[in-house]
Subunit: 531 residues, 2 copies
């Protein structure tokens, strides 16, 4: 069963190894565990619903509780403390586009706020109801997860919007296909959510971001149904797909999604290369991206992340041997782990591997083979579970991300790390910070930073610390040429920072679109656009 | 000097070879040449301007004449007959964003219509002034063609919007870079025009369409300046770049363009392969695209185009030997020419060529080496000049295009060809029609059809024939799952067909954006959106 107050399935438990705990204690001090609220305690707090009965809507307290918060660290603290804040007044489970339209009509008639809910994995406050005079209806798409049809010639699959990662892949793999979209949240997040929030997957280098995968579909809005046909490309005016991508539930409810799929590749392998230092690593990965070497994944950990990963990896003896070997070959203190994947035919993969190895060798890279690559594949969706292990040990962990042009990557990365590392300095509290680049482009790269801090003595203190850190980093990002999000979206948490990059006129254009599709402003008010 | 009544530079003359004339005469009857008007005759028809004087605006009759029409066949007939229709009241030549803003303010104050003019190469009526109570100011960007800066790390170049193809490439190549964007109109069309009309180049398979190349920039609108920063990717809400791409001068005047450039490749080669028949050719090219073989260009002529190209190629003796060789290897009547390019390092190109040859051999392809590939490179921008040669011989030629998913390519292509081939059947007039696929994607392909017909005995008859053919094909395209344009844009000529693919709600969204950026509706009214 899915956890009501954390990530993923209850049966998956990821603990922090004891040497990992010692590593963190040395860096930022011993952990400070806070007590969790129980489900019963929270259920007792769910207020009476303000909704009248509707056959498609559940007013059940536990359903409302389970759709009240996402997965940001603020959500985590709310769930763990039991102080959930606002609950939706009801949760609807439509099974068709017609039922979505029926629910929207009802919302209009009953004067409701409507929040679209996919997998509830937002880390930016997309699905959290806010206090409002109007009752809030959360609209879960979980019963609309079926593969509807496949066009085998055009490699287009049509899905319901509620299909989560495993549902998408299992239905496609049974017919020899893959979508190849693997965000970290893949186990729970959904196709409709990926489209609405401009999601990016770990193998976007081969398969593309959701912008490239999304071919068309249907959206139910308060102004009618928008149907976007699939074309391989078009010059017929602005692309309506791109209006929907990133609209975050403000324009309508996605009721059908067409995606570009691929035949399953003959072969896929992942490799790790250790680069002697950050500057060489950065130059090497940039060159790989700009030389269009056809890799399927490319990820570079900075020295801090490399050290942390090796320390938390388990098997300290094996790691010690690896480090000895690397040191002999020139990758010592300050080394950076670069992971890459090749996916395709054996011929293609052979050619790609050869090019990548030769190029990285020119930047001092030490090739370590497939073992760590295999580890990466095994653990690719495990990271969100680690929040539990860290929490039990008395540490809070969060991640944030941006993207910028190559000429600014190093500078922005450093500023973001410093803003976090020094963020609790006034309290004399240390923060452990490390970073990787996980999505590289010819023009630049994403920057993905993890930070670990101690929650302090109370939930209030923990939340205040997080808010201070989050604001410092967000402010640093937009003031220094980064986008406020490369992959997590805007939601409520990033909305105050959006105008810096969109400009006044751009924000007004988005508001004009929101007013066009949702004249009474019922859809997720405050998400994406502050008003 | 640029021709005032046709394509390109006056010194470039492409004539129809005599055996080509015989080929066409047999297919659709002997040519019917019509007399051309002279420049003096047309200049005498330019009416007095309704504009008051402005230091940045020319009221000169020849300048107004030279900015009155684009390059559609309707434009051609207007220019050749001397019946230009409406002339702009003046042409402005701003040299900076500040001057563009000054001109927009003046237009507002003087109650003018404003039309942005890049290279004047539209084949869909984008830049043609319409009869209006308000004077029309055409705003040419030709003095804003400079390279402003290059970010060598991020491979981003910033240009003025008026840089045409040769200006873009010469300024980049001097520093070791290329944009790699080569639409057929490359000699005259401009960067700003490419962005505004969602242009696609012949090597988009490697470099991407303009959507992928356009990284950001500035637009001067009646509601203020929109500045779009460059990010490699972003999940921060809908992408404002995508609003601008395809907006066709309805939202504002582009004053600066940032593009993603590439280092010049080590090596580039083009090859021709003859496929035994259309079905094998179609299956082969689809498989090449879906297998992600890293080619830089891929183009497939159907049997009709292959036959026509070989007939019009010149060197009939060489062609006869080629056909004998191909027949021995299995490519006889009905054969289809496939051209592909590889661009990159020697290693990459070797690997790509090997994969492409092996794959196409599996579909019966006969590899003919690089000779015809070299011919293609030599002649890649020559086709628009051929309209002159055909016209002198008494034939009118036009092209039109669409894109659709692979499952629909063959069917739609046939329907479009039939709509043209039978389009003048009531008059007992034959039309010669042939097609190629020039932009292929995993999902589907563009379809680019050329049709040659006789103009009849008068310009009125020629225009009526063209209108009948254009309408029949456009109607066929949108009624059968094609986009009204893959690369030429919407303009005025395609605007009546746009609602079929955008839907009522989508059209209203585009109108809401137009009203947002241009509240008094001064910018190119009737272009893209019929109102």
């Amino acid at each position: 069963m899915r956890r009501w107050n954390g990530w993923g399935d209850e049966t998956t438990v990821v603990e922090l190894p004891s040497h990992g705990e010692a590593f963190l204690a040395e860096l930022i001090g011993p952990g400070q565990a806070l007590a969790d609220a129980s489900l019963e305690q929270v259920l007792a707090k769910v207020p009476a619903s303000r909704l009248s009965a509707h056959p498609l809507v559940s007013l059940d307290a536990e359903a409302r509780l389970r759709h009240a918060r996402g997965q940001s660290l603020a959500d985590w603290l709310a769930m763990r403390s039991g102080e959930f804040g606002v609950f939706p007044d009801g949760v609807a489970f439509p099974e068709s586009a017609a039922q979505i339209r029926q629910l929207l009509a009802w919302a209009s008639q009953q004067d409701l706020i409507v929040i679209a809910y996919g997998g509830g994995t937002s880390v930016a406050g997309h699905i959290n109801p806010q206090a409002s005079d109007k009752p809030v209806l959360t609209l879960s798409l979980e019963r609309m997860g079926k593969l509807i049809e496949i066009d085998d010639d055009s490699l287009i699959a049509t899905f319901g919007p509620g299909a989560n990662g495993p549902q998408v892949e299992s239905q496609l793999r049974a017919r020899g296909y893959t979508l190849g979209h693997y965000p970290q949240s893949w186990e729970l997040s959904t196709l409709g959510g990926w489209v609405a929030s401009r999601s990016s997957g770990q193998q976007s280098l081969r398969y593309g971001r959701i912008e490239q995968l999304f071919a068309g579909g249907k959206v139910e809005t308060f102004a009618g149904t928008l149907e976007i046909p699939s074309f391989p490309a078009s010059a017929a005016g602005p692309d309506l797909r791109e209006l929907l991508l990133g609209s975050e539930g403000r324009f309508g409810i996605i009721s059908e999604v067409k995606v570009r799929i691929s035949r399953l590749a003959e072969q896929e392998n992942f490799y790790a290369v250790f680069m002697p230092d950050w500057q060489q690593a950065l130059a090497g990965i940039r060159r790989l991206a700009q030389a269009r070497v056809p890799l399927s994944m490319l990820r570079l950990s900075n020295a801090g992340e490399t050290r942390t990963q090796l320390a938390l990896a388990g098997h300290p003896q094996q790691i010690a041997w690896l480090e000895k070997y690397l040191a002999l070959r020139g990758a010592r203190e300050g080394k950076c782990m670069l992971t890459f994947g090749v996916t395709g035919s054996r011929t293609q993969n052979g050619a790609s591997l050869k090019q990548a190895k030769a190029l990285l060798k020119g930047f001092g890279g030490v090739f370590s083979g497939t073992l760590l690559g295999k580890k990466w594949v095994e653990n690719r969706f495990r990271f969100p579970y680690l929040r539990h292990g860290l929490w039990s040990a008395g540490y809070a962990v969060d991640t944030l991300e941006t993207a910028t042009d190559w000429s600014n990557v190093d500078s922005l990365l450093n500023k973001v790390e410093v803003s976090l590392r020094d963020g609790l300095g006034e309290e004399g509290e240390r923060v452990h910070v490390f970073t990787h680049l996980s999505h590289v482009y010819g023009e630049g790269s994403s920057i993905y930073t993890t930070y670990v801090f101690r929650p302090g003595n109370s939930y209030e203190q923990a939340l205040a610390r997080w808010q201070r850190l989050k604001h410092a980093a967000s402010q640093t990002i937009v003031a220094n040429g980064g986008t406020i999000s490369h992959q997590h979206g805007v939601g409520r948490d990033h909305a105050p920072y959006l105008a810096v990059e969109k400009g006044e006129l751009g924000m007004a254009a988005l508001k004009a679109l929101s007013a066009h599709f949702d004249p009474e402003q019922r859809l997720a008010p405050g998400v994406l656009l502050e008003q």
